[in-house]
Amino acid sequence: MIAAVVTRAADRVASARKWLIAGGIVFVGCIPLLTSSAYIQNVMILTFLMCVLGLGWNIMSGYTGYISLGHSAFIGIGAYTAGILAERWQVSPFLVAPLGGVAAALVAFLLGLTTRRTRGPAFVIVSFALLELLGLLARNLSSLTGGSQGLAMPLPDWDLTFYNWPFYYSLLALVLLSLWMTRAIRRSKFGLGLVAIRDDEDKAAGIGVLTPVYKSLAFMSSAVLVGVAGAVYGYYVSYLSVSTMFDIVLSMQVVLAVLIGGRGTFWGPVLGAFIVVPLTELTNTTIGGLDAGAFRLLMFGGLLLLVTMLLPRGILPTAGAWLTKLKAGDTGRTGARLVESGLPTVPPSLRDESAAVGGDVLRVEDVVMRFGGVLAIDQASFSVPRGSITALIGPNGAGKTTLFNAIDGTYTPAAGDIVLEGKSLARADRTRRAFRGIGRTYQLPRLFNSLTVLENVAAVNSSFSVRRLAASAVSGEEAARATELLEFVGLGDYLDVKATDMSYGQKKLVELAQVLMLDPAVILLDEPAAGINPTLLRRLADLIRALNESGRTFVIVEHDMQFVLALADRATVLARGQVLMSGAPDVVSRHPKVMEAYLGDDFVLEKTMGGATT
């Protein structure tokens, strides 16, 4: 059986992985000792440069999901910064290369500022604009950069026999550093946050991922080593010209390399670099003459095009999927069976001891929301007593979800205030409201599809600290707590399942666990009962009741009256953006005004029927 052979070989490779990697590094490190061929050394140096560039690009565009088409700008920034400083201070460019990295990180930070309010397509534009603008600046600020004349670098003062060695080993060191950084990011909560941003940035903000900080840090780490590598590269080519340092084709090649290898994978950029650069050099030597440049454009453009069309996921993920399939055979997804169990026991860590204090946890005060000319929320006020389950009911379009969005900071009300624990939330953005204690779920559960169930919950932050960023993603204290929460909601057996593979109902439970991870003061549930089967519905009701008994406060938007009125101890009715009334559920549900506005479906219907049939 071929499959068996392949599988066994793959297993062996996997077990020998560490040795392979170490061996590979040693081999690459020995190349200058083994051959004095300047050609081979040159190809390797350029490959290393592409590795660093690719690994950097992968952090911004692979993990964080902001596609950059101008990443070579950071090479130019690094090269020019180091080149100019070396000339001014009369020192070796190697000495000031780190400053090139600092400059690149600084520009990346500024680039990150444009992502505060724009997403996907707009970022593609900015990244491209940045590269072109910097190129033009380098050309125009000729007193600083030599303009189109270029900038000559000092001549190396070491023996020609070892001419390439300092460049070779410093760039190799930068590749290793980039790999180490990527690994550290991937394994940290910070890295988890980045993937969360890629999958669903708004949701990430709502579960305590401080997106501006995450993105700034990601962009800076994506650029810093590229800047240093650019400085070394500039020294290596000994002459800085705008067209080679701010090269759009290089930006394209890095996208090509990472796409070939596998976007968002660890080794993908390296694999891609080792394919793309040797290929470039090969064609450089075989295709000569006037048309060489044109052929290169055609070839790399064409290659990138083919990759997007035929191998969009890249070699590593495609091969990985293929291997998994070989190993597992083609088993489809199976319907997950929920285990029936009694009333869930709430782990002690989930108890909210402040419940005894009393008073209101949350107050909505005269909130007004407008969309264009439409008044969606019209001076709505209500309060949520500590330890209560408050039902928020009302006809579709009454503004219930809009009100949730105003409470959690998705929308900014035109007037009015949201007060949590006696303090206004008006100035807190979405993430800070999550930190302050607002947790919410969505009508249709929103999970991070490329993360596992455990990672989905572990990605949640109840506060921000640098230490937490560096914390390990799937082990340690936080992961233990996430596991505990998932066991509590009944998903202890699904920790390593990808979120996409969970059923609709299970996703709702994962989302509940995410919210609990925030240790929220109040939990907002948006139509928890919609679309889930009766067994799961009972389970959900049990969970809510158990959590409530241990002190948790809930606000529930729900249409299933039987479900919500049985749970709630208070009900607030919303109609046409206004609060119609608040009170005990049985009083509210029998009130004539409420009957007419909401529960009166049948009431109105009977009348119509009567009219129609007689």
Partner: protein, 294 residues
């Protein structure tokens, strides 16, 4: 004062041409939500086509723009069917990367076919001008802008008043509903993309008369187009017209009052400034953020 009026007139004439060049781009974005980075490469392609035929036959290059329009329509159709639709279905964001790849490959092909020297079509009127008092209006700019504005109006009517236009808008808004009223969504999308490409026909012809160009000029032009649509708000045709006027005037003022070489930085500075300060563009309203997910 005369200089200012002169500057404004030149800027607006250029703006008219920018508006036509950006219209197809913004149409495609409005419907498919992708940045078509190959758009400027199509403009340069049309410019080469115009220049080439003009060089061979001596036919007026702006008139050739009328021929280039259906040619580019066909090119756009083929590009959509072979590349854009396929990649877009699989991965929305990758479609932008694919269009970037097309742009790069296309500039390689153009270099092979037409070489990398600077080209320009120089009909009899290319350096003559209309003089009104002390104001000078170059004929080439005037004719090119006139043609561009006429085509823009045509495009506007096509999108607003015909069934093709209604069908395109319907597909952009709700594919299922469009399918349910009997629209062939795939074909309509291809038509839309091809119409977007067709606008580069005259755009390219105007480019060949007013500017010098070579295959890699498309990087400069995509920069200008991106600036125009960012200024006007992505996807808005009226916004593109306004953005084009602002950029045209801005570039001309910079070139005349500061320095020509700084004029080229204007689009990029505007792009970054707008995206930091007012990402919805000059006209656009803040979109009702997310919530739509629910």
């Amino acid at each position: 004062m005369t200089l200012l009026v002169q500057t404004l007139i030149l800027g607006l004439l250029i703006g008219g041409i920018y508006a036509l060049m950006s219209s197809g781009f913004t149409l495609v974005f409005g419907v498919m939500k992708i940045i078509n980075l190959a758009h400027a490469a199509m403009i340069v392609l049309a410019a080469f086509f115009t220049w080439w035929v003009w060089d061979l036959t001596g036919i007026d290059p702006l008139l050739l723009g009328v021929v280039a329009t259906p040619v580019m329509y066909g090119f756009g159709w083929v590009l959509y069917k072979t590349v854009i639709a396929r990649v877009h279905r699989a991965d929305h964001e990758l479609a932008m990367v694919a269009s970037f790849a097309v742009a790069i490959a296309a500039s390689g092909v153009m270099s092979l076919v037409w070489g990398t020297e600077l080209r320009a079509a120089t009909p009899s009127y290319f350096n003559t001008s209309l003089e009104i008092g002390s104001i000078v209006v170059p004929h080439a700019q005037l004719y090119a802008c006139g043609g561009a504005v006429a085509l823009l109006l045509g495009l506007y009517v096509l999108l607003r008043r015909t069934f093709i236009g209604r069908a395109i808008k319907a597909c952009a808004e709700n594919r299922d509903s469009a399918e349910l009223v009997g629209i062939n969504v795939e074909r309509t999308m291809a038509q839309m993309f091809a119409i977007g490409a067709a606008t580069t026909g005259f755009g390219g012809a105007a480019l060949s008369v007013i500017y010098q160009f070579f295959p890699e000029s498309h990087f400069v032009w995509i920069g200008r187009i991106l600036c125009v649509v960012i200024l006007g708000g992505l996807g808005s045709l009226a916004g593109a017209a306004l953005g084009a006027a602002v950029l045209g005037v801005g570039e001309t003022i910079t070139a005349i009052y500061i320095d020509t070489q700084w004029a080229t930085t204007v689009p990029y500075i505007l792009i970054i400034a707008i995206l930091v300060l007012r990402p919805q563009g000059l006209l656009g309203e803040r979109m009702r953020a997310d919530g739509a997910h629910a």
